[in-house]
Amino acid sequence: MSKTITIDGDSIPFEDGQTIMEAAAAAGIYIPHLCHHPEFAPHGSCKLCTVIVNGRACSACTFPAMDGQEILNNSKELNDDRRRITQMLFVEGNHLCPGCEKSGNCQLQAIGYYLNMLDNHFLHFFAPRELDASHPDVLVDQNRCIFCTLCVRASHKDGKDVFAISGRGINKRLIFNADSGLLKDTDLDVSDQAAHICPTGAILIKRTGFTQPIGERLFDHKDISETSLEQEQGDHDR
């Protein structure tokens, strides 16, 4: 008899060692998330995957699945909270979708659509964020960084540790592992996974913007719940 958890009333099996996020994805249940990626250790920072486990709020990406858990995921209250969190992410950075080349492929934008976010609600921080275009092939636009640390984790896996997060509050920013502080002086190569992992438009491959036409972008025909499950179930199968 396999162990099970219950998500929104549906009983699903899990394997020992799986997080709630992993068990849910394997069962085809989408839990909104931005900083989680199945290839990397969970970080638990974006808080979008917050679910109610036996009455307590937990991050689904870090919390282990345990037999008999009663989990609330797709409720109005949780999605309202997730929408507020997404709005905070939008006002914390400078996210101008109309001119952004990641539009249509951006997970932050897609989460906004998924959660029916119709405005920013909060006042914009208008934080001064810098752009580093010094690298010949990769551009970092700090305006769009949501501090998910996926690039930090990916670059660690690449064996290079090019990226880290530094500073606090409004001065928090992505920093680069070079004495000059410039991306061009790091070991980053355009083929590194870290250069391609950004869920928003903060880390971009130069001179490729807008080459993918509208209609062929990731979220043009499917929302993020579908693409996310397809991708993560594919990863799981591999």
């Binding site: 752009l131 275009a133 490729t208 807008f210 036409p213 509208i214």
Partner: protein, 500 residues
């Protein structure tokens, strides 16, 4: 010349009348008049009071964002900005227009014909036809597209559908009707598919017929009161625009040609990358819009007009047959080398719309428009200039980038800027010839707006005013005290309140 009305000798004992905002144009502007005690106009100005700042805030951005960001200047002619920026960034990757892959070149041309067709249809039917069909001083409740649809349903509906067709051409190529993507450095990002081509082809003959009908309509209107239409707001001017190497009407790419009011050539086949050697801009304190002029003629007489009237006047011929027949009739009508009638802008505009419809059919029947060789790359450069004939006239985009692909400098001369002096002259002409000495009423003031509207100005390219725009007329005495005020509310209601 009515330049004596630009600045009154003294403002003492003059009262001010403002038309603010000007309705049924794109963007926000106002007209001010200073009148003496006998209602004689002493000063008349068109002010552009919005400031956009695009040239500044695209600095520091990577160049490949340019076509997508700068198209946000406008919701009516975004494709023109998109393509002008596209042509400029082609040069940044070392691609001159003649080196653009043929399929990309044809796709961009098709896209731009769709843009010009929809913009011209919008301007004529939605914005200007109420004046032309009901009369310049007609009942204010009539002066909107809804009244046109009620009283002339066939004409109104054809206008809406002509515009829709142009928008559909854009959607097939850019993925969206407004603010899509298409031009990338060195080419285009998507081929036109067979099904998209067939979809557009299925309606194109009807569109050509409607466009031809629109030219007949404007000719009928113009002919119905010939002396008035020829003289209202009319000024003699120089004309500037692109033409092809053999002098044909050209909307996407060509050399700069300028002619004077006699039709004599001032410059011809000028490489537009050297525009700065030929055109300078003057700043005046009372408007955010600059005043460009041809350097060789100087500030006083070097101002010029752009747009449909300039293009039809300047070109030697039009490459599509139906539009060429109309061009010949248009030119013959004037009786001299150039047609100067400001209201003939409408006529010229619809000849261009017909040319666009014919050209769209021609391109759709060219198999190469569906080609897949869409992008070329050359040697990186640090400066790029893109010039295009936007619906409203010659549009200049000029960028410089650094070694990291970041924009360091930008200069845009948008079409309406080139018509700034001319629009002011037309306003002064109407003020002097039609308003001066008369008791000002709302319908009378619409004459000023009719003069501006003929140019189809895109005053900021952001806000769009259709029909019942709120309007406020203030009568202020020399000490600045409010004497009288006429307010038109958003619902069309007119209120006359005595201020003071």
């Amino acid at each position: 010349m009515y330049d004596y009305l630009e600045t009154a000798e003294t403002t003492e004992n003059l009262r001010r009348v403002a038309v603010d905002p000007i309705s049924r144009v794109e963007g926000h502007g106002k007209i001010t008049l200073l009148l003496d005690q006998d209602n004689q106009v002493r000063q008349a100005r068109l002010h552009i009071v919005e400031f956009r700042g695009f040239e500044r805030f695209i600095q520091g951005r990577p160049y490949w964002e340019l076509p997508v960001i700068v198209q946000r200047l406008c919701g009516i002619c975004p494709v023109s900005h998109h393509l002008a920026a596209g042509k400029a960034i082609d040069q940044l990757v070392g691609i001159e227009p003649e080196n653009l892959p043929s399929a990309a070149n044809k796709l961009r041309r098709l896209l731009h014909f769709g843009q010009v067709l929809q913009s011209h249809a919008l301007h004529f039917f939605h914005l200007s036809s109420p004046d032309l069909l009901f009369g310049f001083e007609s009942d204010i409740n009539k002066r909107n597209i809804i009244a046109v649809l009620n009283d002339y349903p066939d004409i109104g509906l054809q206008g809406v559908k002509l515009r829709k067709y142009g928008q559909e051409v854009i959607r097939m190529i850019c993925g969206k009707r407004i603010h899509g993507t298409g031009a990338v450095a060195g080419g285009m990002n998507k081929a036109l598919t067979q099904s998209e081509r067939d979809y557009l082809l299925s309606d194109v003959d009807q569109i050509i017929a409607w466009a031809a009908g629109a030219v007949e309509l404007v000719k009928k209107i113009h002919g119905s009161n010939l002396p008035y239409y020829d003289e209202f707001a009319t000024i003699r001017s120089n004309y500037l625009g692109l033409t092809s190497a053999d002098g044909a009407l050209e909307l996407y790419h060509g050399g700069l040609r300028a002619k004077n009011d006699q039709g004599e050539t001032i410059v011809d086949h000028v490489d537009y990358c050297r525009y700065n050697d030929y055109i300078h801009e003057e700043v005046r304190s009372w408007s955010y819009m600059k005043f460009p002029y041809l350097l060789s003629l100087g500030k006083e007489t070097g101002w010029y007009r752009v747009g449909p009237l300039a293009r039809i006047n300047n070109c030697d011929y039009i490459a599509t047959p139906m539009a060429e027949v109309e061009r010949l009739e248009f030119k013959a009508h004037g009786g001299e080398a150039m047609v100067h009638s400001t209201l003939a802008f409408h006529w010229a505009r619809l000849i261009e719309a017909l040319h666009c419809a014919e050209s769209i059919k021609e391109l759709l029947n060219d198999p190469e428009v569906m080609g897949h060789d869409l992008v070329a790359q050359g040697e990186k450069r640090y400066e790029g200039v893109g010039v295009i004939e936007a619906p409203r006239g010659t549009l200049f985009h000029h960028y410089q980038v650094d070694e990291n692909d970041i924009v360091t400098k930008a200069n845009l001369i948008v079409s309406t800027t080139s018509n700034n002096m001319a629009m002011n002259e037309s306003v002064r002409q109407v003020a002097a010839e039609y308003l001066s000495g008369r008791e000002l009423t709302e319908p009378l003031l619409n004459n000023l707006e009719v003069a501006i509207r003929a140019y189809d100005p895109c005053l900021s390219c952001a806000t769009h005013a259709v029909g019942k725009m709120p309007l406020q007329l203030e009568l202020v005495d020399v000490e600045g005290r409010l004497i009288d005020r006429l307010i038109k509310h958003g619902d069309g209601a007119i209120e006359h309140d005595l201020g003071g």
